[in-house]
Amino acid sequence: MNKQEYELVVVGGGPAGLAAAQEAYDQGVRDILILERDFELGGILQQCIHNGFGLHYFGEELTGPEYAQQFMENVRERGVDIKLDTMVLEVTPEKDVYAINSDDGMLYIDAEAVILAMGCRERTREAIDIPGTRPAGVYSAGTAQRYVNMEQWIPGEKVVILGSGDIGLIMARRMHLEGAEVEAVLEIMPFSGGLVRNIVQCLDDFDIPLRMQQTVTEIHGKDRLEAVTVAEVDDNMQPIPGTEYKIECDTLLLSVGLIPENELSKDAGVKMHDVTGGPIVNEGRETNIEGIFACGNVLHVHDLVDWVTEESLVAGKTAANYLQGGIDKREQEIEVNPGENVGYIVPQKITNDVEDRKLVDLYMRCKKPMEHVTINLYSGDKKLLDKNERRVEPGEMITFPVPEQMISDDMDSLKVDIVKEGE
């Protein structure tokens, strides 16, 4: 076995891994290795050819590949070691990393710190339990996106899309522009998880209907998909008998949610959070295993890559601190808890004592859309801070920066809730 030693191993060369590696380097760590299973860096961004990335971080609107290339150049300039076509098979709690590729064979890397940045995967037809036949022509939207945008294959001609999150909307436009007929986008919820902008520019522009509170209840076709049965659903998302109708199509794209890809993390003994599906971390994005960090979609699913970058810079920086002599801990851990209409908050706790820090960013998602809201931060019963937003929705992550000086030694928990303005 090919044995090597590195100070820092980054698992995954998407935007999260790249930004984390870059920041760790800039903080003085020189001995860094990025392991990426694809033939190139950039992660999922390479297939997200649409624009809409980078407004927060770069102040200009970029496409996915443009955004990725910037960070790829940054890590290359810094001379960070990179191994492509390399699959990480195991990370142990002792931070031994086993990875494999065709040229080096099995790699056994003794690392001092590990940053997990494996991204996420898509939920499947089975995860949402659609009965029927099992023909060709049912794809997850991301798989179809890779086929159409990178591999140069169009999976089908007559398309139904289930799920109106941004990926579903973006794929509706892509399939239409490339000459396929998009029959409809169906959404089981009473609201879309996608940006208004995408509804307008991906559906309305091309007269693609968006049907709310409808879902696919059966798949038909022996060899290739022939049709789907669609039904309206009630407020508990249960199909309403009698409302069924059929749409003929040869392709069904599923855009029904993403799941952080944490098989490696679990094997390393990293504790998971039930709601995010990612590791439980402190504000430095360190997991329960000292020296193992996580950032990006592996931690919680982000809609905007800019936040991935911000979060990964934090992880990279803390990993560097860890390698350079350790992190000072607060006397008392502060739990960060979701309150009313808050689904989850990352980080789940604040544990570090960092001198030069000005802000601790809390990332959260609301449970249901709401207009004219106040987001409140409490310590116990005491309100510390609030901010107003015109509108919040589950599809868009909310960032809430907490000034360091507000965090005091006697706190043991923080809570955030989202309520109607004035309540």
């Binding site: 494999i100 995967r121 997850s140 798989t143 999976p155 000459g179």
Partner: protein, 494 residues
């Protein structure tokens, strides 16, 4: 395709492949034809995969006798000869009500009569030692330690390959369209050409009645009875140690909860008589019935962590409710192996033994082939190896350094091996059944494009001709830009 053979077997399920393998022990020319592009697409691909111990089998029926014998042969021979996952987990039939106890006793007696070894009724904590997460109101259970599970796909593929290694010819996409009875021989017309056979063995599963009709036999009819399933993620943390049955009632055998050979949990099947032998679709009602039934024995089951749902069809002869394995009186040289419903898999080695006996009688003696090699080894299983073993494997062949399926850690090497076997894989699902890419929690979202690409390269066909399962199940339509360029041409011509 060759034009003559001693024995022609119709059907590449476990029945046909087992017969081919057992007959290839003898000095005979064996040919197997299968209508689909891959083996194991019929009933053998969707079942509970149990090697039943035989306690529930009716000793008066053929299927009862063959079940016991089949189980024995798996223990004594098959598990040693073929590199196929078989595990003897044992089965538990769980009673939760007093009034079910007599039935449990009855099963015990029937089992003992059938010669099933080591059966016992366990009570109290002993039940939970065997199955810790069982519903907490179990009062007694019949324990059958000789019950096992098998991987039906790998078994069928191993049998076909072992038969091929020993000289049998296997033709895929060679559906039988008609049979002409020429007295001494039968002229079998297939999609791949005509072949003249001395003996024809009909192991066509759900289509066995149609094949029999081709030579004028209409003494039986196959009625499909559908069973539906849910399969759980390996990582789902559902603790099931044995195959768990409820006590059977007159109407239903009840829903089984069992681990698979790969450590997934499988629940099912219900039983519903349906019209079409093609209708393998799952239904809302069926799946709900399966989950409700399974929760009675293992309450922690839910829809969470389900990674696959599927349905299989039992090819039943309802009149007798039994297997039909016999040389036809009406048509000499034509052997029916039909009605092979459950426990067809458990009985498969014994069915093959019986078929060999019938052939022997028909021909009047068989000569053993001294070169017959009963052993078969499939592609290596990267996922089950230690890192040291994995390291060695890559050193020998670089293709084992390329992981194609992330969920199941399947390497390119294994996929190439599956394609290059004597009876090689040709479809995406065939590769999935043999070496598992796409069998994990992302169901091919990540690896399917890569598998398509490997198949295209290995078979020398464009990617849009790669199919999922059947010949018509193409995965891709056109190259990106082609529709736009064609549109352009159309409007130019207008």
């Amino acid at each position: 395709m060759k034009d003559k053979t001693d024995i022609l077997i119709i059907g590449g399920g476990v029945t046909g492949c087992f017969a081919a393998r057992e007959l290839s022990r003898y000095d005979l020319d064996i040919t197997l034809v299968e209508k689909e592009p891959s083996l194991c697409t019929g009933t053998t691909k969707a079942n509970t995969a149990l090697i039943h111990a035989g306690f529930n089998a009716d000793p008066d029926k053929l299927k009862g006798r063959l079940n016991m014998r089949g189980n024995q042969l798996y223990h004594e021979r098959i598990q040693h000869e073929l590199d196929v996952p078989i595990e003897w987990l044992g089965a538990l039939v769980v009673a939760k009500e007093e009034e079910k106890l007599p039935k449990l006793e009855e099963l015990l007696e029937k089992g003992q009569e059938n010669g099933v070894p080591d059966l016992e009724i366990v009570k109290g904590d002993d039940i939970y030692d065997l199955e810790p997460h069982l519903a907490d109101d179990a009062i007694a259970a019949l324990h059958a330690p000789t019950a096992g599970i098998v991987n039906p796909f790998e078994l069928t593929v191993a049998l076909a390959n072992n038969a091929a290694m020993n000289g049998a010819d296997v033709y895929l996409e060679a559906g039988v369209e008609d049979i002409e009875d020429k007295g001494e021989t039968k002229l079998v017309k297939t999609a791949k050409g005509d072949i003249e056979a001395n003996i024809v063995i009909n192991a066509a599963g759900l289509y066995a009645d149609k094949i029999a009709n081709m030579v004028g036999i209409d003494k039986f009819e196959i009625t499909p009875r559908r069973g539906e399933y849910y399969l759980y993620d390996k990582q789902a943390d559902i603790d099931v140690q044995t195959t768990v049955f409820p006590v059977p009632t007159k109407v239903s055998k009840g829903i089984v909860v069992t681990p698979t050979d790969e450590g997934n949990v499988l629940i099912g099947p219900n039983a519903e008589v349906i019209e079409s032998v093609e209708n393998k679709s799952t239904t809302r009602e069926g799946l709900d019935e399966v989950l409700n039934g399974a929760q009675k024995t293992i309450p922690e089951l839910s829809k969470r962590n389900v990674i696959k749902e599927f349905a299989g069809l039992r090819p039943a002869i309802t009149e007798t409710g039994d297997f039909l394995i016999e040389a036809s009186d009406e048509v000499p040289g034509f052997i029916n192996v039909a009605g092979i419903q459950s426990p067809g898999l458990a009985s498969a080695p014994a069915i093959a033994e019986k078929v060999v006996g019938i052939v022997k009688e028909e021909i009047g003696g068989l000569r053993e082939d001294p070169d017959f090699d009963p052993n078969y080894e499939g592609p290596p299983k990267f996922r089950h190896m230690s890192h040291e073993e994995q390291a060695k494997l890559v050193e020998e062949d670089k293709n084992y350094g390329q992981i194609i399926c992330r969920c199941e850690s399947v390497t390119k090497g294994e996929i190439l091996e599956a394609i290059r076997e004597p009876v090689g894989a040709r479809t995406v699902n065939d590769i999935k059944r043999r070496v598992r890419p796409g069998s994990g929690r992302c169901q091919g979202g990540f690896c399917e494009p890569k598998v398509v690409n490997i198949l295209s390269e290995e078979l020398g066909i464009p990617e849009d001709e790669v199919v999922l399962e059947s010949k018509e199940s193409k995965l891709l339509r056109e190259r990106t830009k082609e529709p736009l360029l064609n549109e352009e041409e159309v409007s130019d011509n207008e």
